[in-house]
Symmetry: C2
Subunit: 113 residues, 2 copies
Amino acid sequence: MSAPSRIGEVMALDRLVHEPARLLILAVLVNAKEVEFGFLEQVSGLSKGNLSSHMGKLEAGGLIEVKKSFRGKRPLTELRITAAGRKALADYRQGLAMVVQELPAPSVAAKRK
Amino acid sequence: MSAPSRIGEVMALDRLVHEPARLLILAVLVNAKEVEFGFLEQVSGLSKGNLSSHMGKLEAGGLIEVKKSFRGKRPLTELRITAAGRKALADYRQGLAMVVQELPAPSVAAKRK
DNA sequence: ACAGACAAGTTTGCAATGCAAACCTATTTG
DNA sequence: CAAATAGGTTTGCATTGCAAACTTGTCTGT
């Protein structure tokens, strides 16, 4: 018989994307052309510090690009997902889909409490 | 306004289950009545140490039960998923399913090159 | 003009984590 | 008896995620 399941796939998930905070960031970015730091802070609910460090990691990994400029006299940081980022997210999504499939649907043999 | 999507769900994912190694463990356990430590070590590919510590956390969280006994003269550790574990896994699975749905299918605007 | 509040991020400090190497105890084999 | 194996646990370490504190600059009230 086949392995207990193909769930070993789960170990192949991209950890950079797997982290919820970063997945959230990527998910927002993938639906917009460009996103401001402040906006992201609001919709994500992440603290500035937390957001900043995740941003740094995503940038270091090449999944996003960060453009710094000024709006009037104030600093403005904008984030944009890269092609690599889209790919990573798509791959991750596919991995997730597999995991979801392999995980037993509770509806079947689950306990009705 | 409503959030860009319901992806904020991702932040609600149970971190205890979210960790790939533990998800793998739970996925194996949910399909079997009882599983031996050694077997799990093999199918998961985790080192004994790593497995042992994840096992400890799952047990501490009440998602699994660990039964220690002897087979002949040798120690034997068996793992079993609890009702809470099944529930946590089912909830997690549902969360994942939502995330997968909300994540854009790559087929649309995927590769330009 | 200046004190204080606010904006926009970055840096720092810390606790928690994941991982494997080393270790431990007991058994089996050469 | 020595060495290898089985079955796990503990230790040590490097990485992380998180928020508090800090930085730099603008704006408001008086």
